[in-house]
């Protein structure tokens, strides 16, 4: 039997893996579609962009759905508190995502310019809005979410949707949006040719620059902007039962959430990777090198998510109005039994998923040209 404490750490890592898996795969779906109406100037170019992801976006989206399910199974209190609290933010993401399944499947089924253009913008919204909102949500985690728990562990949220749209969180939203757009742009460089590829390279470079500026800006804001991080008061039993009301939380002494970085300097690798990745994006896109840009964006996405995860650890949802009620990966977690079962399931299926997903990409790989679209006009999206 694995210790409860270790299981809690495993699940912090696994949720991270699912989030990064989501951002890396569905990330280029969202990013490329956010860019599609701008880089694709005619129907064929837009269809080429869409068909680079047509066989894969559905599977990629499951990373998002499974991350939701894993959150429910591993951190039920986080699932409950975050989604009921940030109600309209989540609904906004869902409404934007609704446009994608129908957009992809229905767009090219009718040969009508207005119909197709409308779906193009639908797909653009379906990519851009979730990317922005995820960043805004992360930004608000650093600031604390206004919720509290009563003695029956019922959560009540006292903020509003518009309070989530504060300047710091919006900068974080831009980090996420530009990062995924750069990732999607690099993907289009890999899988298309001609004018579409050249325009994608320009867009990728621009997005890479915005990402670097906003990422560094958000970091500086955290440190110099008097944002106070939280710390768990010691002694704290990391092996204890999941009761989020049984701890003390200190609200001073963790300036700008930087403590973990000074305590464990190795974690600095995360922000360094993000910056290095951003530089590679700009460099690769500038020289029209698709592989280099895509490597850069992959590194940037992974680095940026880990940067936030390491800074907040062990906090998942800090509460701004009742810091004691903050949810952490030690006390907002499922029981030992559930975590054990889920670890076995994830241990079997995550590698399996990676194998067959890779096979699918391998089978469908290749550059999508305008000619290819013309020849397969009735079978492609």
């Amino acid at each position: 039997m694995i210790e409860y404490e270790l299981l809690k750490i495993i699940w912090w890592v696994l949720v991270g893996v699912l989030l990064i898996g989501f951002a890396l795969t569905d990330g280029f779906d969202m990013g490329s579609m956010a860019l599609m109406p701008f880089v694709g100037k005619n129907d064929e170019e837009r269809r080429a962009a869409i068909n680079t992801i047509a066989p894969h976006w559905e599977g990629n989206q499951v990373w998002f759905v499974t991350a939701g399910g894993a959150l429910f199974a591993a951190w039920p209190m986080v699932y409950a508190t975050a989604f009921s609290g940030m109600y309209w933010a989540l609904l906004l993401v869902l409404f934007a995502l609704f446009l994608r399944p129908v957009g992809f499947d229905y767009r090219s089924k009718l040969n009508n310019t207005q119909w197709r253009t409308s779906w193009d913008w639908g797909l653009c919204i379906g990519g851009a809005v979730p990317a922005l909102v995820f960043g805004v949500a992360f930004g608000n985690m650093f600031l604390g979410i206004p919720f509290t728990l009563d003695e029956t562990v019922r959560s009540t949220y006292t903020g509003s949707f518009f309070a989530l749209l504060n300047p710091f969180a919006l900068v974080c939203g831009l980090v996420s949006l530009s990062m995924l757009c750069a990732h999607g742009g690099a993907w289009l460089m890999l899988r298309t040719d001609g004018d579409l590829r050249n325009r994608s390279a320009k867009a990728t470079q621009l997005m890479g620059i915005i990402f670097l500026v906003c990422f560094l800006g958000a970091g500086a804001w955290l440190y110099f902007g008097n944002i106070e991080g939280y710390t768990l008061a010691q002694p704290f039993n990391t092996n204890g039962v999941a009761n989020p009301l049984a701890k003390e939380v200190l609200t001073t002494g963790n300036h700008g959430w930087m403590n973990n970085y000074s305590t464990y300097p190795i974690t600095m690798l995360a922000p360094i990777s993000a910056i290095l990745g951003g530089l590679l994006i700009v460099l690769g896109a500038g020289q029209n090198k698709a592989g280099l840009s895509f490597m850069g964006s992959t590194l940037a996405v992974t680095g940026a998510i880990l940067t936030a995860g390491f800074a907040l650890f062990p906090f998942l949802l800090p509460s701004s109005i009742n810091p004691t009620a903050s949810l952490t990966m030690w006390d907002a977690v499922s029981s030992k039994n559930t975590l054990t079962v889920m670890t076995v399931v994830a241990g079997i299926f995550v590698p399996l998923i990676l194998c067959y997903t890779t096979w699918c990409y391998y089978k469908m790989w290749g550059v999508i040209t305008n000619k290819h679209i013309q020849e397969n006009t009735h079978t492609l999206y």
Partner: protein, 529 residues
């Protein structure tokens, strides 16, 4: 206390989104299997018409699948947004099957569905066939895990309340998976999906036969649908009967409500074929009964009783009073008292804690509930009898009508004369809504019949909702209803357009409308020269 209107609105929203989702999912389940059967026939026989069938029905499958995915996104997150206390209270058990569904099933289905649509030229025949079967397998596994989760709501096995974390926790994962309610529900529900797919293909093929277009294509589709549909309908009805038996065992209240059985009848109980339930006066007017039938269905015997609603309410009142004791002990435990007597006594009483929580609808101080409040909570323990009674009968009637259709259709297939029987083809075409009537009323019987609980006898519905404002939930209901309805209209438009077009939409040049066009072209050219 959460306001009554937030609970009601949240229930309405959940019902609406679940019922929308359940328009598309069963068709996906059924069509996925039919596609796999058609493609298998293609690979074995080498006849191109079966590949065209796979591609054409696959096109309609895709139009339907898109909305299944869209409406499914809401379902994955809605427990968190609108049922936050539920998510906290039972997430330890309920979340696991949802996450496993993602990892084991939805990934499989969604990853390979892209190859199903776009891999025809990239994969070998056998590889593509494998992909189609994996999509079918994925969608069925998906249903399995969702129904494991749902089965646990009806019959919460393998779990225990933990007063330290204030929630239900998993103690036996095996019991959760092999929950008899979940097993029966799974087969009943996926079979219903197969029936839906079969009726869909049967009805549209009949339309082509009535219009005399693409006959070889329609004939073969009709035959596969008829035989597959007959087998599936028999499975639905048998497993529906098995559900009746399981109901008798673990969900006595739901069973008695479906039957509108107010007083316990001496064994063996009769089955009420028809009547008008009267919840106010707790009786059933104008009842027509079949002697013995209910006793046999629910107890598989002639000597066991099926308990009536009035007797069940007497039992429930006892459990509510005991639940008040359990609640007061829980308060002491939460306050830090850990004396062994208290722990032992709570262990004894905690099975009725859920019944105590029913009082929270009327008072925050459960332990001081008045006699009137206890009476009101007792009355709440039975669901809406009239709605259940009629929904159940609508479901069963649709089921038997479809059975009749499939028997006639299979007979016609055997005699090879379906296209000469316009009445049969019209019957098949107009039967198109039947599976959906059965599905939606069946869903209501299962979930409406679970009320007043979200988790049977553990967590009352009114405690499960999130602490949201009425305005928030109104807003989301309106937005979701508007969005879904627009998407549904678009979906129906495309579905009808492509169904009318038939296999001509594949642009192979072999089918009705393309031949028609080619013939006209020739005529024009002939006239010109």
């Amino acid at each position: 206390m959460i306001s009554e209107s937030v609970v009601d609105l949240s229930r309405f929203q959940f019902a609406m989104t679940a019922m929308y989702h359940f328009i598309f999912v069963p068709l996906t389940l059924g069509l996925a299997f039919l596609l796999a059967i058609m493609e298998t026939t293609y690979v074995i026989s080498g006849k191109e018409i079966y590949r065209d069938m796979t591609k054409f029905w696959g096109k309609l499958f895709g139009i339907n699948f898109a909305l299944g995915v869209t409406t499914g996104l809401t379902m994955e997150f809605q427990f968190g947004t609108n049922w936050a206390y539920y998510s906290h209270y039972v997430g330890d058990i309920f979340g696991a099957p949802l996450a496993i569904e993602g990892l084991m099933a939805f990934f499989l289905e969604s990853t390979f569905i892209g190859l199903f649509f776009f891999g025809w030229d990239r994969l070998s025949k056998v590889q593509h066939l494998g992909v189609t079967w994996l999509v079918a397998l994925g969608s069925n596994l998906s249903a399995l895990w969702i129904l494991v989760a749902n089965g646990w709501m009806q019959n919460p096995v393998g779990s225990e309340f933990n007063f330290e974390t204030m929630r239900m926790e998993l103690v036996d994962f095996g019991a959760l998976i092999f929950n008899p309610v979940a097993q029966v529900k799974f087969v009943h529900t996926v079979s219903a999906g197969y029936v839906t797919g079969a009726i869909f293909v049967l009805a549209i093929s009949s339309y082509y036969m009535l219009k005399k277009q693409d006959l070889p294509f329609a004939r073969r589709s009709f035959a596969i649908a008829a035989i597959f549909g007959l087998a599936s309908t028999l499975s639905v009805i048998l497993l529906g009967d098995e559900s009746g038996y399981e109901l008798g065992d673990v969900q006595k209240t739901k069973l008695a409500a479906i039957e509108s059985e107010w007083e316990t009848h001496p064994a063996p109980a009769p089955f009420t074929l028809f009547g008008i339930p009267n919840q106010e006066e707790q009786r059933t007017d104008y009842a027509i009964k079949i002697p013995y039938a209910m006793g046999i269905i629910a107890t598989r015997s002639l000597d066991k009783e099926v308990t009536g609603l009035n007797d069940l309410m007497v039992q429930h009142e006892v459990r509510i009073r005991n639940g008040m004791v359990a609640y007061s002990e829980l308060e002491q435990l939460r306050a830090g008292d850990r004396s062994p007597e208290l722990m032992a006594s709570f262990k004894e009483n905690q099975k009725d804690l859920g019944y105590g929580l029913l009082l929270k609808k009327y008072t925050d101080k459960v332990t001081d509930a008045s006699e009137n409040q206890i009476k009101a909570a007792t009355k709440d323990t039975i669901p809406n009898v009239t709605a259940l009674f009629f929904s159940f009968r609508a479901m069963v009637a649709s089921g038997f009508l479809m059975l009749l259709l499939f028997i006639l259709a299979t007979y016609a297939v055997a005699k090879r004369n379906a296209e000469n029987k316009p009445w049969l083809l019209k019957f098949a075409l107009f039967a198109l809504p039947l599976p959906w009537i059965a599905l939606q009323t069946g869903w209501y019987v299962a979930e409406g019949g679970r009320q007043p609980w979200t988790i049977a006898e553990v967590l009352p519905t009114h405690l499960s909702a999130s602490s949201l404002s009425t305005g928030d939930v109104w807003g989301s209901i309106i937005a979701l209803a508007a969005f879904y309805t627009v998407l549904l209209i678009i979906e129906m438009y495309l579905m009808i357009k492509f169904s009318r077009l038939g296999p001509s939409s594949l642009h192979t040049g072999k089918y009705h409308f393309e031949k028609l066009e080619a013939a006209q072209q020739e005529k024009v050219e002939g006239a010109q020269s």
